[in-house]
Symmetry: C2
Subunit: 209 residues, 2 copies
């Protein structure tokens, strides 16, 4: 069942033709959400952002600053879900957090305090999300305001994931850094997409189960 | 079965009367390892380190620099397993990585290149490790040399944990940062000790199962 937090909301997926963006857009549409995709080859980022209540940014780290600059004037008062992971080629298996502490804090600094930045979807393998069915991975949601994080939790659950409040936006560093570790684990243990589960949360049901 | 990597080795646990140190020392003794505990009220850190082949440092973040200084002259050529998590009171639920990038890199900087620094045991709840039985948490092991990490993996397995190579020492930032998130999850979801499991590693058996 769709959360009341998402009722009648339009979601812009910026970079929505990329692997993660396309997978999220597909799952959200299937859940009954209105989704507008912003892409370099279709609807411009700014136009998609202007049309939406909630903006989800799913671009590579190197494209983050440009994408955020493009949407900034249409983001005031809105929730922006940053999904950026600071993978810096060629050493993508090595944690390289930006000087701001995390890509999420970088997004907040670029967008300014009038924008409600949260972050999520760092650890889920896009190709698994692109297939139907459950994904064996928790989604940690970070943000300085609990009410804003709750929207991210609702979005993750609408995409079929178990989602958890992960605390302050600064805590995004943990999930962002873990992505490089997951890339390392994929190579070392020959996995097609290692994920993350938080254990010993007995009262929390899996909403996808 | 004890790994050949640990055969006839003596392990020094520096800060071994703390919660994590005492739990590890107990499990390693039970596994047949020779353990010497260094503590402020017993065997001095330097003496314990001098007597050992492998040195495990289990002190709070605020005590890390002093502890490493105390053992430095007895650590050359040895493996030092740093378990430090940069929890900075009063905001222990907020990720606050040190300027070096991680406590593990700080340890390497303090000890110098002659010491083989690895890091591990960041995410396991000490009070769960203090009880007998399995702990539902993976142990990520970080270090720049695979052979050094393998010793950390063997130590974690000897303590009854599933252990994984997590990549370069810099990647320790991921597990260290995650500890603050786990503290946040414990409070938010009323857990007695949230842990971490890596999913989708089909070929890796749980050595504790």
């Amino acid at each position: 069942m769709l959360s009341d937090l998402l009722k009648d909301k339009t979601i812009a997926v910026i970079g929505g033709t990329g692997k993660l963006g396309a997978a999220l857009a597909g799952r959200w549409r299937a859940a009954g959400l209105a989704v507008v995709v912003g892409s370099r080859s279709g609807t411009p980022y700014a136009e998609a952002a202007a049309a939406a209540d909630i903006i989800v940014v799913t671009v590579p780290f190197a494209a983050q600053a440009d994408a955020l600059t493009a949407i900034a004037s249409h983001a005031a008062g809105k929730i922006v879900v940053d999904t950026t992971v600071p993978l810096v080629p060629p050493r993508v298996m090595r944690v390289q957090l930006p000087p701001e502490g995390s890509a999420a804090q970088r997004a907040q600094a670029l967008l300014g305090e009038a924008v409600k930045v949260i972050s999520a979807f760092h650890n889920v393998a896009a190709h698994k999300l692109a297939q139907p069915g459950a994904v064996d991975c928790d989604c940690l949601v970070f943000g300085d305001e609990r009410a804003d994080r709750a929207v991210g939790v609702a979005l993750a659950e609408a995409a079929g994931l178990r989602a958890l409040h992960g605390g302050a936006l600064a805590n995004s560093a943990a999930a962002e850094a873990l992505t490089s570790v997951l890339v390392f684990l994929n190579r070392t243990y020959k996995s097609d997409g290692a994920g993350l589960r938080i254990t010993a949360l007995p009262d929390l049901a899996d909403p996808t189960a």
